[in-house]
Symmetry: C2
Subunit: 211 residues, 2 copies
């Protein structure tokens, strides 16, 4: 690994096609190694040295592309989130709010139950809980962008008259995502599609009887 080109950087007219493919392979190996180590050792005990050894690249390759352990890990997590979304960057908007929310919450349940996503994300969340600086990065780069997709969907629902007037969209999102995350992080009870459906039902219709 002697490439000085950052992965995903602008194409260099002089570089051979092989070099770019090798960079991409190394980048992928580094992400995979980083996430595996975070899942196995926790965030705190994962090191650049460990990632390099597991990925089969030199330590300098990582330092050439990323300034710090936090930076390479955050990009690995962003890449993981992209993969989890399967290339989807939006939020379904069929006009049926309950159906759209149900689809997204069920997919989130599947993700939380998938060890590939679950183990490293759990380790990152745990570290962010006790390290305010890392927690703020986690929220800014990973959590908030995802919550904003919900907020946008709720705005569209409000425009269609499907939400109570004056609802705080952000709090409304937390009513859906909060219980799911609570059950996931605390492992209180199984995370199932039925649970996701109940959350959508209860959040939209409320717990009190309709008079």
């Amino acid at each position: 690994m002697n490439d000085t080109q950052a992965p995903g950087g602008p194409a260099d007219g002089t570089k051979r096609p092989d070099s770019s493919r090798r960079s991409e392979r190394s980048r992928r190996a580094i992400y995979d190694a980083a996430l595996a180590l975070v899942a196995e050792l926790g965030y705190g005990r994962t090191t650049i040295e460990g990632i390099a050894a597991r990925a089969g690249v030199g330590k300098q390759t990582i330092y050439r592309w990323w300034p710090s352990k936090a930076a390479v890990l955050m990009e690995a997590f962003l890449d993981l989130a992209d993969q989890a979304a399967g290339g989807e960057t939006g939020f379904p908007d069929t006009g049926d709010l309950a159906a759209d929310l149900g689809l997204v919450l069920r997919a989130t349940v599947d993700e939380m139950n998938n060890p590939v996503y679950e183990a490293p994300t759990r380790a990152l969340a745990a570290e962010g809980i006790v390290d305010p600086e890392l927690g703020a990065q986690f929220v800014e780069k990973l959590l908030d962008p995802s919550l904003q997709l919900y907020v946008r969907r709720l705005r569209s629902a409000e425009a269609a008259g499907q939400l109570r007037a004056g609802i705080d969209h952000r709090i409304a999102v937390e009513l859906l995502v909060g219980p799911l995350t609570h059950r996931w992080l605390m492992r209180t009870l199984p995370l199932t599609h039925e649970y996701a459906d109940a959350l959508v039902d209860y959040a939209l219709a409320g717990l009190a009887p309709r008079d």
Copy 2:
């Protein structure tokens, strides 16, 4: 400290009153030291040796009363939860469900914002997230008993016709507690009484307009 009597154990007719007072003082010092260290160092790096040194007792005193670090820490957390509840072991039931839930959620917000409770509890939650065995203990001994108090209050509300028929009480509780915990652990936005009130309002009345 040469007492062999476990704190809170059955009274021993032969022991002097002084011994019992000294035991109680040591027990309190051990709890305080344990919680302070967990808040400062995290759960993993807190040791029996460290607790003993901070509490000013011998290591053997701790081992005489508790079999393991996990055991002394869990009792320290149970004691902390008792203090946080201010001796209250029930849940208000004035007949006004929204008012009662609002009171409890506002008190929970105050607790989450109080560093004395917040710092060690956050460290315990983080450790439970990555250590399934500790997490299960945390849920069984601390979280579930507290959630059961909500469930009981919701049962009483159902009997009074204040809940939709067929609601799963446990999921209903998570609709209130989940968002609060999410905002607290992830530090996304401020935890305020207004937020607590909005959660009660949204959960009970729902997000969709009433036709």
